[in-house]
Amino acid sequence: MYEFRVQVGPAAFRIGSAWKRPVNELAELYREYPTPDIADYSVRLEATSLIRRFIRPSVAINGDYILPDAAPLPLAQALLAAEMGMNLQMALGWRRHLLLHASAVEKDGKALIMTGASGSGKSTLSAMLGCKGWRFMGDEFVLLDLLTGAVVPFPRLISLKNTSIGAMQATALDGRFGPLLRDTPKGEIRHLVPARDAIRAMTQPAQPALLLFPSFGFESAVREIAPSEIFIRLTQASTNYVALGEAGFKTLTRFINTVPARAIDYRKGEEAEALVNQLWDDLS
């Protein structure tokens, strides 16, 4: 077994792998991240059978938490398997913060949080804003402190899909990209390493100041959302709201009472950026 360890925000991961190549890829992409001594979670990339270690090698994602019946991935996508494995450990096991499926960026000590279904653009928008003066805090999970309500950074590799890949390659000219992965269950995927300042600031929280629900593919618009709709959507965007019980309820109600929210529609990244800047300026 080959091993790789990485600290991302408050979580320490250990990846064990039956093959050397994915561990090398991970070590290269995460080279500026701290290495923890002890891991919170273990992810294991395993062969589905002895033959499958060598012939048409196939990676099963195993670890402290697993999803039964998940289909294995080809070895060429082992990097994706490792990232999915880490997501799974967080989604199923993390209890120290309220977890939201959302992205976040920070400016002047305040955090902008973006949440929505797959395809809404939250991941790409956070990557884009991270190149335009904002500090990237995470594209997959937003962690909310249960006592203070602060947003805690979780800046893993940014997962770009399909058309976002080209868009970000044009925007992040100094960006460090992982290999292009084709024919994955979600189409083409390419990972982008967050900017150095984002990695260095991974222990610095920020107070949430604005919540956005982006929708990609609609004419540029800003809409208000009722608090009850925000509440319901956020409970569904959280994988551990129910498990956290009272702490989850208090954290979420505090969040809704203190953070303004809007739905934004956009057709191009520049439109979204303009709407974000307009709403952010309106806050002060």
Binding site: S228, Y241, G245, E246, F249
Partner: protein, 83 residues
Amino acid sequence: MVLLIQPLDAMTAIYHRRSGITHIVSEPVPQILHRMGGETLTSDEIVERLRVDFDFEEIDARSLITERMDEMAALGLLVRQHV
């Protein structure tokens, strides 16, 4: 306190400590809880308390409120006592 109650807008979020479940409710559920004030009441008594503050024209108000209370009891937000 058995319930944590957070009004949102036309709907209210309620956390039920004993079950750990969050419910999102619309009228007249929060108003029923408020008017009961922790006491044990019949549905007629609750209808009368609601009439003090609110107007409702429904002829079958008692059936509607009883149905809401049945729903609340099924979820543990109210406890039914048999006399």
